[in-house]
Symmetry: C2
Subunit: 152 residues, 2 copies
DNA sequence: ACAATTCCGAGTATTTTGCTCGGATATCGT
DNA sequence: ACGATATCCGAGCAAAATACTCGGAATTGT
């Protein structure tokens, strides 16, 4: 039940990108340096965010990335799902159907899994990237070195 | 971000155990047969539940397992944590402290992780084994074969 | 004694994670 | 045109985690 480094690095990276791409596009190299993440690995992560339509890119020299839409329209859920795939800890086929499963078969545990899934998704969907940006600016003075804290 | 088979099988197994250990202790073999789980693997899972104080055992011939305390005092959270370890998808050291991290360093993403962790734990802690038992009995007619549905 | 059990630790194949690497493609500045 | 700076893309690979199996010791009812 762990979130992989994709999700942890990726959220940090996207937040960094958001904070540093207002004047000009932010490059992989610059984000990687500030956040202390390997360039080649970060490349993969940003690639996923791009395919998910969260960031847009400018190729060639002086290129880089920026948000594809306003930060208030991007939720942490969007970001994590883009990076991790489904966030559902348990995926029964037909978990959402009324009867579900094989039809004649009914699982009781199914409702447990559904509640867990819903809880997680609801939580991450209600946190918007814009909120994190605001908080970041708020504590800007206190912030020190790159790499954030415990590598999360 | 997946719950392992430990958690999935284990919850099913414990529910089965609760439903079938009222007259006499339920053996690994019987639970395994009903739930269609490998005996040797199930042994490990029940072992964890026992060490966590959720089930008690009777050794020797005719032995088996039963709940160590009333089902209303056992939450799904207790069960899953016993089987999976911490359910927190992200574990920063010092996630709960006010300042946390290395002190001078402040992460914004930390609050995201904390909200996710809290959300999951709260969700699973408010579901009690007794509720699942009641639901199980409720749909007893509809229930068919062993093995539940999609192996979850 | 013997069969039925729980108890326990070690071993192992498969899958997932967390990367690295090489090279193709695009764009800017000179 | 050329080279420097970037994104883009897929393959490959070592380490870790998962999902088990297996052998055997200890315990207890008949």
């Amino acid at each position: 039940m762990k979130l992989s480094t994709k999700g942890r690095y990726g959220l940090r990276a996207l937040l960094d990108l958001a904070l540093n791409s207002e004047t000009e596009a932010a490059s992989i190299a610059s984000i990687a340096a500030r956040q202390n993440i390997s360039e080649s690995y970060l490349e993969q992560l940003i690639g996923k965010l791009r395919k998910a339509g969260l960031v847009s890119s400018v190729r060639g020299a002086g290129g880089g990335y920026m948000l594809a839409k306003p930060a208030k329209d991007i939720s942490v859920g969007d970001i994590l799902r883009a990076l991790e795939g489904s966030l559902d800890p348990v995926n029964c086929p037909g978990l959402d159907e009324e009867q579900g499963c094989t039809g004649s078969d009914v699982c009781v545990t199914k409702y447990v899994w559904k509640r867990i899934n819903d809880s997680i998704n609801q939580t991450v969907d209600e946190i918007k990237l814009s909120q994190l940006i605001e908080e970041s600016r708020g504590v800007k003075d206190a912030v020190s070195s790159p790499g954030s804290c415990c590598s999360n």
